[in-house]
Amino acid sequence: MQVSQVTTAMVNMDDLIEKAMTGDERSFNQLVSLWYKRIYNYVLKQCSVEELASDITQRTFISVFRNLAKLKDITRFKPWIYRIATNYCHEEGRKWSRSRTVPFTTSQGDDGETMIREEGQAEGAFYNPEMSYRQQEMQRILFASLQKISEDQRSVIIMKEYEGMKFREIAEVMDTSENTVKTWMYRGLKLLKNYLEEERITKETLSYEL
C-alpha cells in the first residue's frame, strides 16, 4: 500500500471515529466493518471458542460505542479497543477456565475416522481429505498451545505476532511497562516452544504437514 493511501485511510479512520463519537450510527457501523474481523480473530485466539469469540467481540463493540466519547486521544483508538477486548477476554477466560479447558470437540466421521472440528463449527463443514485433516489438526494444536500459557503472555504474543503491534502499544493495552511485556513474551514463547516440541511440531514437520 502506498504511503498516501495509508495516510488517507488513517485520516478517514480519524473522521469515522470523530463522527462515531458524536453518536453517528452509520459511521460507527463503518468503524465496526473495519475492525470487526481483527478484533474477532484476536479474541478467538485468546479463547479458542467461536461462539464465545463472537459474543466477546460484540460486547467489545457495544462497549466501544458507549465509551467512545470518553476517548481523549483518537489516535490511541487501536490500543484502546484492544484493551477493552483483552479485558473481556480475561474476564471470560477466568469463568471458562473453571468450567472447561478443552476448546475443541472431536467427533466420529462416517468412515469411523476421528474427525476434529472447532467448537461452533457447522456440521456441514466436515470433510475428509488427508491434507485438510492435517491442516485442521495443526490449527487445533496451535490454538491449544496458546491456551497453555498465561493470559498475559498469550495477549502479548497474539498482539505482537498476529496484530503486528509495537511493544509500546502492547504495554499501553496491558497497562504495564514495555520491559514487562517483553519479558512476558519471552517466557510465553519459551513455553510455547516446549509445548510444540512435546507435540513434535518443528519447522521441518510444519513444512511437511503444510
Binding site: 465496526v32 463493540f61 457495544i62 460505542f65 496451535l142 505476532e161 514495555e178 510455547l192 511440531i201
Partner: protein, 264 residues
C-alpha cells in the same frame, strides 16, 4: 564482567525493535555465545510456527443503538417506518411474482403441493388431443413447405441445365461440323492405307519365308527317301545272295544223294 542481555532485550532483538548500541552489543553477545544463539533461534522458529495460525472469516453484524442502553446487534439500521415500508414492499413483490408465475398452494387427498406456472392436471383428454392434432398439423404444414421448396429448387436446376445446353448448341454451327467430319474421315483413311501397306509387305515376307522353308523341307525328305530305297535294295541283294547259297547247298545235297543210293 561480561555482558549478558536480559530476556526483554533479547525478545526486542528478535522482533526487530532493537537499535543503536544495544543492537551491536546483542549481536556481539550472540556471536560469542552459541547456547544463547540456539535458544533465540528456537524462539524464532516457534514464532514462525505460530504464524501458521490462520485468521477466520467472520460475518460483520450491524449494530443498532435505539438508546445507549438498548443495543440491537445484527438488525437493520433502518428506522421503524423504513423497516415497515421495506417489509410491505417485499410482501407486495412476493404477491406480484406469485400472480405472474401462477403460484399455487394446494392441500388435498394426494398431499400438500406448491406449484407455479400452468397446471398440467387441468388439461383433459380433448385438450391433449387438440394439442397433438395442432402439433401434427403444424409439422405437416412445415413438411409440405419444405417439399415445395425442394421442388422449386429442382425445377430451377433443370431449367438452368436446359438453358446451358441450348446455349452450347446455338454456339455450335453446321459448317464446323462438316469440316470436322471431313478432317476425321481423312485421318481414318490415311490410317487405313498405312495399315494395308504395312500388311502387304509383311505378308510377302512371310510367304517367301514359308516357300523357302518348304523347299528345304522337300530336299531333306527326298534325301531321306533315297537313303531308304538304297537300304531296301541292299537288303534285297543280301536276301538274293542267301537264297542262291541255300539253293546251291540243296542242289549239292541232291546230287550227292543221287550219286550214292546205299547211303539210306
Amino acid at each position: 564482567m561480561s555482558y549478558k542481555p536480559e530476556e526483554s532485550t533479547l525478545i526486542a532483538y528478535l522482533c526487530g525493535e532493537l537499535v543503536g548500541k544495544e543492537l551491536d552489543k546483542v549481536e556481539k553477545y550472540l556471536a560469542d555465545n552459541e547456547d544463547a544463539r540456539k535458544e533465540l533461534n528456537g524462539l524464532k522458529s516457534t514464532l514462525s510456527i505460530m504464524g501458521q495460525l490462520e485468521d477466520k472469516e467472520v460475518e460483520v453484524p450491524t449494530f443498532s443503538f435505539e438508546n445507549p442502553r438498548k443495543v440491537v446487534v445484527g438488525a437493520s439500521t433502518m428506522s421503524f417506518w423504513q423497516r415497515t415500508l421495506a417489509i410491505a414492499a417485499s410482501i407486495a413483490l412476493i404477491l406480484f411474482m406469485g400472480y405472474l408465475t401462477n403460484f399455487r398452494v394446494t392441500l388435498n387427498n394426494q398431499g400438500f403441493e406448491l406449484a407455479y406456472g400452468h397446471q398440467a392436471g387441468e388439461q383433459n383428454q380433448q385438450d391433449i388431443e387438440k394439442l397433438v392434432a395442432e402439433a401434427i398439423e403444424k409439422n405437416n404444414k412445415r413438411l409440405s413447405e419444405d417439399i415445395q421448396l425442394a421442388k422449386e429448387d429442382m425445377r430451377n436446376l433443370v431449367s438452368e441445365s436446359n438453358q446451358s445446353l441450348q446455349n452450347q448448341l446455338v454456339s455450335y454451327k453446321p459448317d464446323h461440323v462438316v469440316d470436322d467430319f471431313e478432317k476425321q474421315k481423312k485421318q481414318y483413311l490415311e490410317q487405313l492405307r498405312k495399315m494395308v501397306e504395312s500388311s502387304e509387305l509383311e505378308q510377302k515376307k512371310y510367304t517367301d519365308q514359308v516357300l523357302t522353308d518348304f523347299a528345304i523341307f522337300l530336299d531333306i525328305q527326298r534325301q531321306n527317301d533315297l537313303e531308304l530305297i538304297q537300304t531296301r535294295f541292299e537288303n534285297f541283294q543280301d536276301d538274293a545272295e542267301l537264297n542262291q547259297f541255300q539253293t546251291n547247298q540243296i542242289l549239292a545235297n541232291i546230287i550227292s544223294t543221287v550219286e550214292d543210293p546205299n547211303q539210306y
